[in-house]
């Protein structure tokens, strides 16, 4: 799936803000000025002033000559950064991944967010109209790459939403400045007569590199989507990692224990604050001799209990070989999930069933100590054949999707594979008289059945059905036997499949 980005461009960021603060300035041409190298230069002008010919970078004296009643305000340094930060925070409602484009824009990574506002058009319209409603003169554009979105927001004339993989077509008619190039390169392009991007897009890369350098090609590739561009996020996603350097190399089990406990306490404090728990954690021990020893644990349910996690690591301490000593411990939690905040049970001497945290802790310990352990529960499944009617579930929180079929008689033990038996049966569809299993003859005294269980043709094609009988022999042993196929058919055979209590 392609990524999608929205670029927002605030054309008059600081002046719009000033109008919001002082509404009486709305119909007055005004500028912000700052002293640079002994001259007062304009750093921002409002729309009215710009209409009358005032532009950014002009000296204040010149501007006054053009517009006599120009209002000149002192620029507040750092104002634009603060404003963009605030606007970025406000945009968190649209996407969690937001970056600030100094000096006058925002970049939003909207991949997978647009459908919540009824598609890309509705999404972009919503953002732009909300910001315009606040009083900011804003333009937005959406594209597959940061570069194209930036360019179209600022220089595009036709449509703000660029369809996936059509960056090149969208960029052709734009001026080179839309590629975010440095002024020197722009000047050179201007001199050479490259007024639009299409005029140099077709030129060979080596020729372009020779004249304009690598940075130029990088910008072009980024805009076209051939190179990924990193975003400096407003709210960076911090990985769940803790480090613990040690003053002296550690080579005792006690030292490692202390290190694990300290790291877990730090990590769990953060997890607890965020209402999360870890499912897997790894401890990396950087040894003096340059080797890294790694041990990992996993849990059945998301957990942020130091004591529990420590117990899991405790089982692994023996496998950590410190050699000459460990100088750095790093604890990582690559898999983190929302943890349910568990309330202390007031009084439950019989235990809290499957939600019990003791049980989850116990199973974690078993699974971590014995690698080959197979821990599961069985849930009913809607299938006919007995071996398929149950489904193993490793999650303690899995809910039943269907109910247990209480009406059918099922054996207490079920053999992994039905075992072939020799039988003597007199009449079709009658239970056998006796059967021989492992050289022992069982004379049948009582029997129930048959219960016909059909093969599920949608799972394993055609084949014989099974007719199950409950039989009891002379000694009172009760078995579950079946005949595969019809009576006296060529391929029909008898099997023992289970034992009743």
């Amino acid at each position: 799936m392609n990524k999608r980005f929205v670029s927002l461009w605030f054309r008059h960021l600081t002046t719009d803000r000033q109008i919001l603060r002082k509404p009486e300035l709305k119909d007055v041409p005004f500028v912000f000025s700052a002293a640079t190298r002994g001259r007062n230069l304009i750093v921002a002008a409002n729309a009215l002033a710009e209409q009358q010919g005032v532009s950014v970078g002009m000296a204040v004296a010149d501007a006054r000559a053009i517009v006599p009643d120009l209002e000149v305000l002192d620029d507040i340094p750092g104002q634009d950064a603060k404003l963009l930060n605030g606007l970025g925070e406000w945009c968190i409602r649209y996407t969690p991944l937001i970056a600030i484009n100094m000096p006058d824009g925002l970049m939003l990574d909207v991949t997978g967010c647009t459908h919540l506002w009824g598609g890309e058009r509705g999404y972009l319209k919503e953002i732009v109209t909300r910001l315009r409603g606040k009083g900011y003169d804003v333009r937005g554009a959406m594209a597959d790459t940061i570069g194209t979105a930036w360019a179209v927001a600022r220089y595009g004339r036709l449509k703000p939403i660029i369809v996936s993989n059509e960056q090149a077509a969208a960029l052709t008619d734009l001026p080179p400045v839309a590629l975010r190039l440095d002024p020197l390169t722009l000047e050179r392009l201007q001199k050479l007569g490259f007024y639009t991007i299409k005029s140099f897009m077709g030129i060979g890369r080596s020729a372009l590199r020779r004249r304009f350098g690598d940075a130029f090609l990088l910008r072009m590739d980024q805009a076209l989507g051939m190179v990924d561009e990193p975003m400096q996020l407003l709210h960076p996603i911090e990985p769940y990692t803790e480090r613990l350097p040690s003053m002296e190399p550690i080579c005792t089990a006690t030292g490692i224990e202390i290190a694990i406990r300290t790291l877990l306490e730090k990590l769990c404090k953060r997890l607890q604050g965020e209402g999360k728990g870890l499912r897997t954690a790894t401890l990396k021990c950087y040894r003096v001799d340059g080797l890294v020893v790694e041990v990992g644990i996993g849990t059945n349910t998301a957990s942020h209990h130091v004591a529990h996690l420590f117990k899991l690591f405790e089982l692994k301490i023996a496998s950590i070989e410190p050699a000459l000593g460990i100088e750095l411990f790093v604890m990582e939690a690559p898999k983190v999930e929302d943890a349910e905040v568990d309330q202390e049970a007031l009084w439950s001497p019989e235990g809290g069933g499957l939600d019990d945290s003791n049980l989850a802790g116990l199973l974690d310990r078993m699974a971590n100590k014995i690698v080959a352990a197979n821990i599961c529960r069985y849930l009913p499944q809607e299938h006919y054949w007995p071996e398929r009617s149950i489904k193993a579930s490793t999650d303690l929180k899995d809910k039943l999707t269907t109910t247990w079929d209480m009406g059918k008689l099922r054996p207490t033990l079920l053999l992994d594979q039905p075992q072939e038996i020799q039988v003597a049966s007199v009449l079709p569809d009658y239970p056998p008289m006796f059967f021989i299993y492992r050289n022992e003859r069982h004379n049948i005294r009582r029997a129930d059945g048959p219960e016909r269980i059909e093969r599920e043709w949608w799972l394993d094609g055609s084949g014989p059905h099974r007719d199950y009988y409950v039989v009891e022999d002379e000694e009172g042993r009760r078995y579950w036997v079946f005949r595969s196929g019809h009576y006296n058919e060529e391929w029909s055979a008898w099997y023992l499949h289970g034992v009743f209590a």
């Binding site: 019989e350 003791n358 352990a373 007995p386 009582r446 409950v470 009891e472 209590a501």
Partner: protein, 244 residues
């Protein structure tokens, strides 16, 4: 009035039971688990929960019968919403079959471990974990020392543990409170009725600590145990008891 000799002995016996961990249950919980006359074989006449029971299941059919009786016992132990842990290696228990004994099979957590050593470790850990209703472990054999470890864990956590032993060659003494052997017996139906009747077992208590061993015929009818011949336990003669 001075106590008669009989009273003194009774009181001393009670004291010994208490020291051994058999605390008489409060009156509100003195209902037992529905095993009827069989429960009278145990000290104080109550099925001991919070203790280890061992059950001998040498054959496949014996395992099935034991599974049935155990299912009935577990259903009353799990009534209050607890979970049961079933630890074993080559487990054949069919979870769906437990529905016949009023157990919701999804409330049993199965732990399959490849090695005997791991099973015993896991069993001990499980028995230490408060909050479980019962722990069932399928083992081949168990030594006295190991059974004592399990007993210590159980005394602390008050969980009921069941050991299903399959190797009958060397039946060593254990600290378990009772040794059971369950075998299937022919079911009975009213005269002339076809089909297989309710599950019926011969439940033998081969040894009971501070109790009276015996043998009972029990049937599982409509979700509860029914003792077939409502009679007191006949004392099993020493010859029929397996030495150990």
């Amino acid at each position: 009035m001075p106590d008669s000799k009989k009273d003194i002995i009774a009181r001393l016996q009670q004291n010994i039971l208490r020291w051994e961990g058999f605390v008489p249950p409060p009156a509100s919980e003195a209902k037992g688990i529905g095993l009827g006359p069989l429960e009278a074989a145990f000290p104080n006449g109550v099925f001991p929960t919070g203790a280890m029971h061992e059950m001998l299941c040498p054959t496949l059919e014996g395992t099935a019968a034991t599974g049935g009786l155990l299912g009935g016992i577990l259903s009353s132990l799990m009534q209050k919403g607890g979970t049961c842990l079933w630890i074993g290696s080559g487990r054949k228990l069919f979870p769906h079959g437990m529905t016949a004994f009023n157990i919701e099979p999804h409330r049993i957590v199965f732990v399959d471990l490849p090695r005997e050593k791991d099973i015993l470790w896991a069993t001990e850990e499980a028995l230490k974990c408060e909050g479980l209703a019962a722990v069932v472990a399928e083992v081949k054999d168990i030594s006295f020392a190991l059974s004592r470890r399990l007993q210590l864990a159980v005394e602390h956590s008050k969980i009921t543990g069941f050991l299903l032993r399959s190797d009958m060659r060397k039946l060593s003494t254990t600290t378990c409170v009772a040794r059971w052997q369950v075998t299937s017996v022919p079911s009975q139906l009213p005269q002339g009725m076809p089909g297989v009747g309710h599950p019926r077992w011969q439940a033998e208590l081969l040894r009971v600590r501070n109790g009276t061993p015996g043998s009972w015929e029990i049937e599982w009818v409509d979700g509860k145990f029914v003792t077939v011949e409502e009679q007191m336990a006949k004392v099993v003669y020493m010859e029929t008891r397996i030495a150990g």
